[in-house]
């Protein structure tokens, strides 16, 4: 079942419908305009088509999970979700061991691992990112602001493999020595490194949201006798909240999809546990580590593509949601909707 890529989920906003008036009546320039317009439209369409094709290709390889009986014996949707009794007379459990006499494809440990890493990343990045955005847009002197903004956005340029390496060698040892953790490579370690990549995402969007609040709002508050602290926390922050929420949502999408950091720094152990100081195995790290050797066309191959489809859908919905919130916020500020 192919999901609808566009359509009635979010109604096309008026912002994007513009009437193009053709002023020129000379035939030659009309043809040039026509060709130019269609060429630009084709470029835009290509991006859309590429996304669609990627999704179709990935989804095509997961179809045997839904249709083929041999694959369903090992890896049907219910086998991947619920506890399975893999060996007779042993307790049913969740386990991810694809290379085994009895292949095991439980997705729950991987799902929990992905969520734990993203959770730690958000707990680390949201206070830092939003706090930095508030300081930069409300309280910092102009010259300091012009330094802070590009520097934090530089954080976004650090390659994730470098951060993963840093977490593996330096951060893990420091965390283990400071907090006496049992496991050196765990969700906390990977989550903090993930948080470093998420901070610039949250900062950029939140800061733009706050500077977009019209000056008149702040001036009205001051006129009523508010001090700068009150202006920020009672006027500007509530007005910018949708934008900050959008930043958080986009950051979450980034944290879920990030691969290299969790591959290197999380220990890659597929266990079901609630503790944040245990090792985790995420969806993205599983694909990265196992795709290279998997036998083409086997159930393992289909399951890996299934995980890829899940990731694609999660991040697509998350990013769509974040962009939609931003759009509505922009319209509200411009006075186009309530």
């Amino acid at each position: 079942m192919k999901p609808r890529v566009s359509g009635n989920l979010f109604p096309a906003p008026a912002l994007y419908e513009m009437e193009v008036e053709k002023y020129s009546f000379k035939k030659k320039s009309r043809i040039k305009e026509f060709v130019g317009e269609k060429f630009i439209a084709a470029n835009a369409l290509t991006a859309l088509v590429v996304i669609l094709l990627i999704f179709i290709f990935i989804f095509k390889e997961t179809i045997p999970i839904l249709t083929s009986p041999e694959v369903k014996k090992e890896a049907s949707i219910s086998r991947m979700t619920f506890k399975q009794e893999f060996y007779p007379k042993r307790d049913p459990k969740w386990s991810w061991q694809p290379n085994s006499d009895v292949p095991k494809y439980s997705l729950l440990p991987l799902f929990l691992g992905t969520l734990k890493a993203a959770l730690v990343a958000m707990l680390f990045a949201v206070p830092l990112g939003v706090g930095a955005a508030i300081y930069s847009s409300e309280f910092a002197p102009r010259r300091l602001r012009e330094i802070i903004k590009p520097v934090i956005e530089l954080l976004a340029g650090i390659p994730s493999v470098v951060l993963g390496f840093f977490a593996l060698i330096v951060l893990a040892t420091w965390l283990q020595n400071s907090f006496g953790l049992t496991y050196r490579l765990n969700a906390l370690n990977a989550g903090i490194a993930l948080g470093i990549t998420v901070v610039p995402v949250i900062f950029t969007v939140a800061e733009d949201a706050m500077t977009a609040i019209p000056r008149s709002l702040r001036q009205a508050a001051i006129a009523l006798g508010a001090n700068p602290w009150q202006v920020t926390f009672t006027m500007v922050l509530p007005a910018a909240l949708p934008g900050i929420a959008a930043g958080i949502v986009l950051g979450f999408g980034r944290a879920i999809g990030e691969t290299m950091i969790v591959l290197m720094a999380s220990g890659n152990a597929a266990i079901v546990s609630g503790s944040l100081t245990d090792s985790i195995r995420t969806f993205s790290a599983t694909i990265a580590a196992e795709m290279a050797e998997v036998v083409f066309g086997s159930p393992h191959y289909n399951v890996l593509f299934f995980i890829g489809t899940l990731l694609f859908i999660f991040t697509f919905i998350i990013n769509l949601g974040g962009d939609y919130i931003l759009l509505r916020m922009r319209e509200r500020i411009q006075g186009k909707t309530k």
Binding site: N99, M264, A270, I271, A289, E293
Partner: protein
């Protein structure tokens, strides 16, 4: 359409192969050996270019079957499924053992344990033994490090030490023996396994076949005379019997010069008779 593309790529890569360019892919355990051999060989034969990369034995075998490499390095034999895949693509696999290796079991240098039996190793790695005090060490959870399931070392360890049982779910999987050694070196209560050639910075345990025989430390001698219980052959796989530059390279690696370089790189050279019988005349 896909088949057309693949055959076009195969033809291109095949033609590239015989242009003095040899690609070697596969085992991370053997990647250092392959690189040293490549360096030395290129010094003698300046017209040949050798490219060596890792990725795991499984990756190399898949590449050999798909035509992406000339030589596949593997620290394990190919599985039946992989032989069948090759057959179905019309590839006749030529297997040559080019060196020996012992899988050492590493613990941190601060760990007082000096030897373990195969039974205890199996218990630790399948999760039935979870605390160091059960094997005579301090009272602390055993932090178990292993390799990803694309690794030949993973597969060999599973078959011979774990007797095909599953690894414990809590085993932390790392990419490459160097990562395992690094992790165990920094973790006082860790245990890991990997090729003998990588044991710098950690302590390699003596392994007992069972409770009665004495523990044997992994070293060149104990691997060659087969007293160390976890030793294995390291293979090169070819698509058909090698000829031309591939044959020259193989014969050179099996010769006394090649095997001496293996020994210098901390791998274990083949016994002379075996090397000579594998050389292609």
């Amino acid at each position: 359409m896909k088949n057309l593309l693949i055959s076009a790529l195969l033809i291109l890569s095949a033609s590239a192969a015989f242009a003095g360019n040899i690609t070697i892919k596969g085992s991370d355990t053997m990647v250092r050996l392959g690189q040293r051999w490549a360096e030395e060989y290129m010094k003698i034969h300046k017209d040949v270019t050798l490219q060596v990369s890792g990725g795991g034995s499984g990756t190399g075998i898949a590449a050999l079957i798909n035509g992406g490499t000339d030589i596949c390095q593997a620290s394990r034999d190919m599985k039946l499924q992989e032989y069948a895949n090759a057959e179905s693509k019309g590839i006749k696999i030529h297997k040559v053992a080019v060196a020996l290796d012992g899988i050492a079991v590493f613990v941190n240098e601060a760990n007082p344990i000096k030897e373990l039996s195969l039974e205890q190793l199996r218990g630790i790695y399948t999760g039935s033994i979870t605390n160091w005090k059960e094997v005579g060490g301090p009272s602390h959870i055993i932090i178990v490090y292993g390799r990803e399931n694309s690794s030949g070392t993973y597969a060999y360890f599973k078959e011979y030490v774990l007797k095909n049982e599953d690894y414990a779910d809590a085993t932390q999987t790392l990419p490459g023996t160097a990562a395992v050694v690094n992790a165990v070196g920094q973790d006082k209560f860790g245990i890991g396994y990997g090729g003998l050639a990588w044991s710098k910075g950690v302590k390699a345990l003596a392994v007992k076949k069972d409770e009665k025989t004495p523990g044997v430390e992994p070293s060149m001698e104990t691997v060659i005379n087969a007293t160390y219980p976890i030793s294995r052959e390291l293979y090169w796989f070819f698509n058909g019997a090698p000829s031309g530059e591939l044959k020259d390279f193989l014969n050179w690696a099996l010769s006394a010069d090649g095997q001496k370089i293996a020994e210098e790189t901390d791998y274990v050279p083949l016994p002379k008779e075996k090397a000579e019988s594998s050389t292609i005349k």
